[in-house]
Subunit: 151 residues, 2 copies
C-alpha cells in the first residue's frame, strides 16, 4: 500500500510528498508506541518525563526547566505534566532551597518500578524501524540531520 493510496491524495512533487510522508509515517510510529504505553495507563509525555527523572536522578535539583530542556518538544507543558505524575504518586516535588523559584522534582520508588514494568516499551521503540537495514537506518539519520541543516 503506497502513501498515495493511504491518503487518497496527489502530490505536487517529491518534496511535497516527502513532507506528507514524514508526517504520516511519524504519526503512525508514534501511535504504535503510544499503544504500548497505554497498557500501563500513562501518556507519552508523562513517560518521557519519568524517563528523564530516572536518567538524571543523581543530579539534583531536577527542576521543571531542566526537564523541559530535555523534552523533544521545547514548548512542553512540564508544570502540568508533573502535576499529573504527582497525583499518581510517581514523583515528589518540593521547593528548592537554593533557589526558591525552582521546584526540585524526584521520581518515587513507585515511579521507578512502573518504569521497570515498562521495559518492553523501550524494546518496542527499538523495533519500530527494523524494516530498515543497518545501512538504511544510518542513511535515514543522515538525511534527517541534513533536513535540519546539520551539515
Amino acid at each position: 500500500m503506497s502513501i498515495e493510496d493511504d491518503l487518497k491524495g496527489r502530490f505536487r512533487n517529491d518534496y511535497h510528498k516527502g513532507l506528507i510522508n514524514l508526517t504520516y509515517t511519524t504519526k503512525q510510529l508514534g501511535y504504535e508506541f503510544f499503544q504500548s504505553l497505554k497498557q500501563h495507563g500513562i501518556a507519552e509525555q508523562q513517560y518521557n518525563v519519568l524517563r528523564i527523572l530516572r536518567g538524571f536522578r543523581s543530579q539534583v535539583p531536577l527542576t521543571i526547566g531542566f526537564i523541559k530542556e530535555r523534552m523533544l518538544d521545547k514548548d512542553s507543558d512540564v508544570s502540568r505534566i508533573v502535576d499529573r505524575l504527582f497525583e499518581k504518586g510517581l514523583l515528589t516535588r518540593k521547593e528548592n532551597s537554593g533557589d526558591r523559584r525552582q521546584k526540585s522534582v524526584e521520581i518515587t520508588s513507585k515511579g521507578l518500578s512502573l518504569l521497570d514494568k515498562m521495559f518492553e516499551c523501550e524494546k518496542k521503540a527499538d523495533t519500530l524501524l527494523t524494516n530498515l537495514t543497518e545501512e538504511e537506518i544510518r542513511e535515514l539519520n543522515r538525511l534527517l540531520d541534513k533536513i535540519r541543516n546539520n551539515t
Copy 2:
C-alpha cells in the same frame, strides 16, 4: 548542531536514534509550517479541511466522513473542526437530503479567497525539505515507505 546536542541525550542504537530523529525533525518542520499558517489566523487542521473542501468541491455531498478519510490523522475530530470553520464563515453545512444522517459541507467564497491568500503557505511546504537533493528526497520517500512496510 547534531541531534545529540539538540536533545542532550544518548541513544541506545541507530534504530533508537532514528525514531527520535524522525519525531524531532517532523516536529520541527511542522512547527515551521504552522508559523506560516498562523499569520492567516488559522490552525493546521482547519487549513487541511479547507484544502480538502476546495479540492473536492465538485463532488457533492462532501460529508464529515469523506473529509475524515482524507485527513492525515484518521482519528481527526472533523465534526468540531468544521464547527470552528463554520463560525468563521469559511464553510456552510447542511443536512444531506439523500441520507439525513450526513452533513453536506461546502467551502464558501470567503473560504476560497482565504486559501488564495494562503498560497505562499503551499509554496512554503515545498521548500521545507530543499536541503535534500532530488535523489535524496526520493531516497527518503523510499525509506519512509519501507518503514511503513510498503515493500
